[in-house]
Amino acid sequence: MNREGKAFSGEVIIRAITSLHERSNGLGGGFAGYGIYPDHKEDYAFHVLYETEESRKLTKPALEGNYQLIQEEPIPTRQIDAVQNPPLVWRYFLRPRLERRISSVESEEDFVVRTVMEINQKKEGVFVASSGKNMGIFKGVGYPEEIADFYRLEEYRGYLWTAHGRFPTNTPGWWGGAHPFGLLDWSVVHNGEISSYGTNRRYLKNFGYDCAFYTDTEVVTYLFDLLHRKHQMAFPLVANVLAAPLWDEIERMEDKEFYQFLRAVYGSALLNGPFAVIAAHNQAMVGLNDRIKLRPLVAAEWQENLYIASEESAIREVCPDPDRVWAPEAGEPVIGYLR
């Protein structure tokens, strides 16, 4: 991430993720780019994947009903051998029709969340990959560098990029299951397995988030949205919930009552199991490990740039001489804010 907001080419992230080729198995790769649509800064940019032309036609009324269609077009791609039978990938620039909100209390973001979930749940063969402003998620089945090639990612420029190569273990590789997972302008890439998935999922249901994609990254994304956007918790506090300190540690803390409260109330939001996640939205990038650090995560800084990766080699691939390199502690977030 370039914390001054200066855009850089997608090539940088492509090079970085390619160096981690051995960590994936070709069944999923993806990228999230921020600041890539400067001409449509105020519009919601939806990236949607369709299995068939039919499903695209059937979805159009749903989109038009809830949104004003500023522009729609297929995402430019190139044909490559490695990517066989890709779905149709389209992007839309939309403005929400606020008169279609279910009540005056529903905020614009809640409206987008609700309508996106409706499409994902109800429409067959349709998947909304990202639904944020001035950002987009590009993903599919293949090695990340192949996906980048497919989406012509080198043509884009943005100030924040994340990437992921998947080695799926729980669900078969499919275009929707690749990372990053997105909602609004959130994108989450994740290395690990959430053993508390069942608990987290049922907790999120209380707040209207329906998990439909059999991938545990989904709960991480929705939890970030719930805690940061809706409950207005700053990222360090979000980290305290997702990777909560041990009860014994809380006993020794100064603000002990607050942390007891936090853990008692948000216990079902605790992410258990090994994980390293990198979450991002328009204003920030956050890297976080589980509380006993069972997955690698390394961070580095060079001038105004912040780098977070599974391995230092990926960082050094694009930044040979960082000012500072460190491994974050278990449960301690690494946060880069847009200045």
């Binding site: 690990g192 397995e193 608990t199 209380n206 409950h231 009552e257 008692a264 109330v265 079902s268 258990n272």
Partner: protein, 507 residues
Amino acid sequence: MAKGKITPEFKILRDMEKCVSCQVCHRVCSNDAHLYDRETGVVTSEDSRCVGCHFCENLCPTGALGIRRNPSEIKLNALWSGRAVEDIARQSATGGVLLTGMGNDRPFPVYFDHLLLNASQVTNPSIDPLREPMELKTYLGGKPDRLEVKEGQTREKVLKSFLSSQIPLETPILFSAMSYGSISLNAVKSLAMAARESGTLWNTGEGGLHPDLYPFGPNLVVQVASGRFGVHKDYLEAGAAIEIKIGQGAKPGIGGHLPGEKVTEEISRTRMIPEGTDALSPAPHHDIYSIEDLKQLIYALKEAVRYRKPVGVKIAAVHNVAPIASGIVRAGADFVVIDGLRGGTGAAPRVIRDHVGIPIELAISVVDQRLREEGQRNRASLIAAGGFRNSADVVKAVALGADAVYVGTAALVALGCHVCQKCYTGKCNWGIATQDPYLTKRLNPQIGARRLVNLLRAWSLEIKEMLGGMGINALESLRGNREQLRAVGLGETDMRILGVKPAGEAW
């Protein structure tokens, strides 16, 4: 007609090579099933009096005794079992309701035995509980969705008031409500001492609170049942939480029952009822005829303790348990206790115990599901009760949605009970379900508490092992996590209601 002879249920086998006529069995059996003939110096047995409590077998110094089931001599019949025939014989003779004790013993399906747990491998490392922290701590009580500091409040005040409304538990296993009256004071003392040492809770049941037990208040849940036995202001203040008992799993729809034989002077004083009379609790609370009445009582109790203690409600698992539980949470309860089909009792009509109610596994699943659908699962803690036999049952219950689990029968078995189901006679040889001073002496609370602490410790260690195996290191990540369960040998509908996938199916 010839008066019917009831076939003895048990046969006492005495190995005469080993029997040394020490007379221990004769001295201890409260049912006089062993007799000593002074002339011959031989001890003999009267099989028809044996209730199968195994106390004599336990004490016999040479192991000469064996208690065996005595198969009924009635011709084998899939419909007319020996018990069915004898029940009719008994009822025709007495015209009375057949009573029984403990929990449902009929072969209805035990869903726990059809659920299996997960373990993490390769993709997710399992966690070693001996070397890594493994947290079983839970807080009981309703929780807000988020921290809200309203006008006129300070953050400190909100936090303090929240924490005082919660009860911390070191382990998710609590001792179920067993009244002083149904069990002896020594048994209650054992539970109280063990609860305090293990950082968990015990429950007064309908018996009121004996003065000797007030010091164990910080680990106590005081029950307000339909008979309101022993309920007065100090009683409400004494405990850490208050539980309104609407029903119990062993006998949904009817109230508690303490036969007059067990109402001694001390019981009479503690419960505030006349000595020697049957203590029959009314079926409903006569001030709760509908949900709004319950809300009124909940808030009346909260007022009485100035909102400083959580107030919860205990119901039996019946057909409509989900909407009932939902209503209870909306009525302001801080915790809801669901007691399933296998819940125990000191005395109940056998026909009600065996045929009314539904299994706890299904009940917890549907209640948890309903509360989540309505977005109010956080507002109250869910405690499951009714037939938990081991730590695996506990883990499965938490995975289905419970915050904690009440154990009753298991605790009594730890104290020596062999589930002979004769609690209502008041002649419990183990000194548990009796008020007879000859018998109550037999339960040394020091030993009893020690055994209960051991039981909780053993189960807690096993739970930690199972959690570690699943790749989880905090109990709150198991709560409602049905992904960690798979079903074997269950039909589609059962799996749907439990919310559990069949074994073999991955994510």
